[in-house]
Symmetry: C2
Subunit: 569 residues, 2 copies
Amino acid sequence: MTDLKPKTVSGTVDGPDVKHMKWWGWGVDGVAFHHEDKPAFAPFVKKVVGVDLRTAAVTAAPSFDDLEIPASRTTADVTSALSLIVGEGNVVTGDMERVVHTYGKSIRDLIRIRQGVFPRVPDVVLYPATESEVAKVVAAAIAHDLVLIPFGGGSNIAGSLEPQPEEQRIVVSLDMGRLDRVLDIDEDAGLARIQAGAQGPDIEEQLNAKGWTLGHFPDSFTHSTLGGWVATRSSGMQSDKFGDIADITRGLRMVRPEGVVVLRAVPSTSTGPSIREMILGSEGRLGVITEVTAQVHRIPEKREIQAYFFPTWAAGLRAMQAISESDATPSITRVSNEVETEMSLATSKASKGISALLNQGVQRFMKLKGWDLSKICLSFIGYEGSDEHVDRNEKLVSKIVKKHGGFGVGKGPGVLYDQKKFDTPYLRDFFLDHGGAADVSETAAPWSKLLTLSTEVTAAAKRAFEKIGVQGVIMGHLSHSYHTGACLYFTFAFEHGEDALGQYDVVKRAIQDAFIAEGGTLSHHHGVGVEHSPWLEADVSAPGAALMQGLLDSADPERHFNPGKITGR
Amino acid sequence: MTDLKPKTVSGTVDGPDVKHMKWWGWGVDGVAFHHEDKPAFAPFVKKVVGVDLRTAAVTAAPSFDDLEIPASRTTADVTSALSLIVGEGNVVTGDMERVVHTYGKSIRDLIRIRQGVFPRVPDVVLYPATESEVAKVVAAAIAHDLVLIPFGGGSNIAGSLEPQPEEQRIVVSLDMGRLDRVLDIDEDAGLARIQAGAQGPDIEEQLNAKGWTLGHFPDSFTHSTLGGWVATRSSGMQSDKFGDIADITRGLRMVRPEGVVVLRAVPSTSTGPSIREMILGSEGRLGVITEVTAQVHRIPEKREIQAYFFPTWAAGLRAMQAISESDATPSITRVSNEVETEMSLATSKASKGISALLNQGVQRFMKLKGWDLSKICLSFIGYEGSDEHVDRNEKLVSKIVKKHGGFGVGKGPGVLYDQKKFDTPYLRDFFLDHGGAADVSETAAPWSKLLTLSTEVTAAAKRAFEKIGVQGVIMGHLSHSYHTGACLYFTFAFEHGEDALGQYDVVKRAIQDAFIAEGGTLSHHHGVGVEHSPWLEADVSAPGAALMQGLLDSADPERHFNPGKITGR
């Protein structure tokens, strides 16, 4: 992470040797975003949200000692029953551990942590080591009337991890971090059995060692788990090639009160309604996912990301659609709108990287072509495969880019994008430090609706900023292409006032409403949780939501498994 | 259908102008398979199952007048309530119509029809014309305690259409044939809104007229519907390119008692558990599918099917796997084992087509290469796209074929295969006419398990033939390739005795048991129905089946919607 610098360590956790993010923010303790070597960043922030980074009051990282953490409600009986299952050292009731397991890392979570808002905290954090321990924990949950919330890397931003505030029963956060191994690779079939608690880097390291890759790289990659990806129907940056997690997941094991659901890895099946697809996106509501048999790929011979510029957002979107309709099969299709392009240029170091692209020569070329420099859009297209495959695809894409008025600027910026791709979430904490609130909302919609959706979402966010009386910014990019449409991924930010959450709610609601009104889904890859639950019926219709509720109620009539998520009940 | 000849018409149906297959067998009334111009066919049949087509007693098509059809149990009240909804002419209670709607076209169905076995026949056949009529029918089903069985083209071979024998309530077969239109094409997104009752040729005709194709071509294509494909998770011959129906289906409308489930067409979503995937494969148990928004493709510039020979089945399978791992993206990957290859050669006319391939020159070439001619395997690989794409893919595949010891024999046989690809199901009736029973069973499994699975399935079938004391044959081909595995499609046949169904049960059970034992799923694209229901728990585990049962029970507690299918309850 070339672009991050150390930041004071502010807390440590007990329990077994399982990696966690910092309790109050994103990522590794001691690492943070900084902008001193990015001269265009502060002026950009000043321009779009009015925050002057040179003069803004900076909030220090919160002090854990200042927090009031509700006491654990566990009983000696329950703690001892759980200790018998997973061993004493793997039952943790300390405040730090419980706070770490209370929330994910949405802006709502980060603000609540900074404000010390903890209406309900898990009472116990458990670290099972095996599926059979998980099975015993599930049995104990039934026997002792506990609530179980499976916990992976804690990167969720849809509120899928928090206990319901009104929950009176003992809440157990079931941290899957000790189930972190690649158990087996069937090299003849391209299938790997992987434990659900394995985090992105763990998985790639174990697979790479044998020449394989999962190919799943969400923004959260460094701090999220396979089980979490499955439970929230995740997508990664290279999903255009490797598929969404729903495609990657072939076999599954999930512990239920009546036993382990075992879905063998088959390439396809006509057995429906699909149990695999009931478990995908189930956010812990049907049971505890312990193992996934995932399709894996040989590490490609060559891997390249090329950068391109388009004169307008509309031209960029059209080009991505044309690529998806063509014979080209890139691994990444991404194009930013004009605001995000400006942000990308502003986030680069002066002397190198993306901003260096916009040297006088390139700018002159754009002007010669009659481009308005305030409208230009930056695109990254990735290629993976044999040398010949990469070359051929680059040629195919190059033609399409040209046809849509764009041009390529080489692979230098792509290398940088690739290095920094997991750093973005750190920006949010930096921004909060300086009095700003920022988060993301993403959707997927048909090609025919994307431009209007993008326009309307932007307009809705701006109306919301106006309503709450702030200067705000919203920017977006296309991040995944499909035959019939694409994912649009929006980032929004504003200088928040006292009621940061109230303000956020207004903006978030405006954006989500616009998604639905313009034919988008409530989220392409972040899940429903409690954050998106209000749009569930609009997304899938009331009778659709009722079908889903029926499944959840039948599977968990006593509400032991992460109640309240997805359907709000 | 160059290869079929007229056969006596044996019955007609009443009701509105909706196409049906012949009441006693597959396909168009008046068309049947014949072998007079295929000199190698009779000897092949004699060799593998011992039936001498020249001397075998030929059963005439059954006479409808000889059947004893249970009387309709509908009441004046119910009939009149239904007539008020769909109009009098669209409520049919005649015997022929009810028989046509009793079964699908599995060998079990065909035998029962020939034997006049009708333990339970629908009491009413309804032809709604609109979704709103369907909604009223569903409401009437609740109000009058009826059973509704949605009916598409009637091509099902998993027993998904038959009423439960013990059913005491009035059973309504809801024929969707009047909902047969392509409603709208979103040309900018590649999405078509299509009514559920539209049959394959109707769909392609309407789409082709505007330059589009759905690309879904199951064996049943000429007599099956989009709603049926969705309800059974169908796959088509070109699914390697166009995707299985689960991929093709983007949006859905399904009528439920509480209203219409409306799933808008989005390219992907993280909203889970997926309601779309609950409806896919639901076989009418969750409600009535009325409309599908499907992804469609521009008709490709070029379309070609090339034929290849491999020295052995193992080499053919390996080559298909290598193709799936390569940069090539063919539309069809198909290779037959040695028995099916012999059958293909035997089913060709002497002077042209596939058998002409095996002229002296080719045979000499094979012998020169040291091939055992009794082991050779025929393969078809399809290519679709731009001229350049097709050429490039043919070259990529050609290299792989060569590497695995095979060689190409041109596109002549592919043209023939393409023309005759929907004729195969007629063979079953022909075979029944001559005292033979034949049917198909297919599965999907990881690449690493395919060869063993194939060997074990073949051995299991042979043991079953032995057990029932018949000479039988089983043959197979790989029909669909995925990254991690493929579909193996088996056809089996034997000269049946008096207890044809009992004999069939022994063989079928042996094959399905072997699928499961060797890591395959119970069916890759034929659905579960009642035929495969006994293997459901083995396929998805008992806790998995319980999850599914929970969904079905919660969605249909009073069992109005096609009860008994999939889970057997």
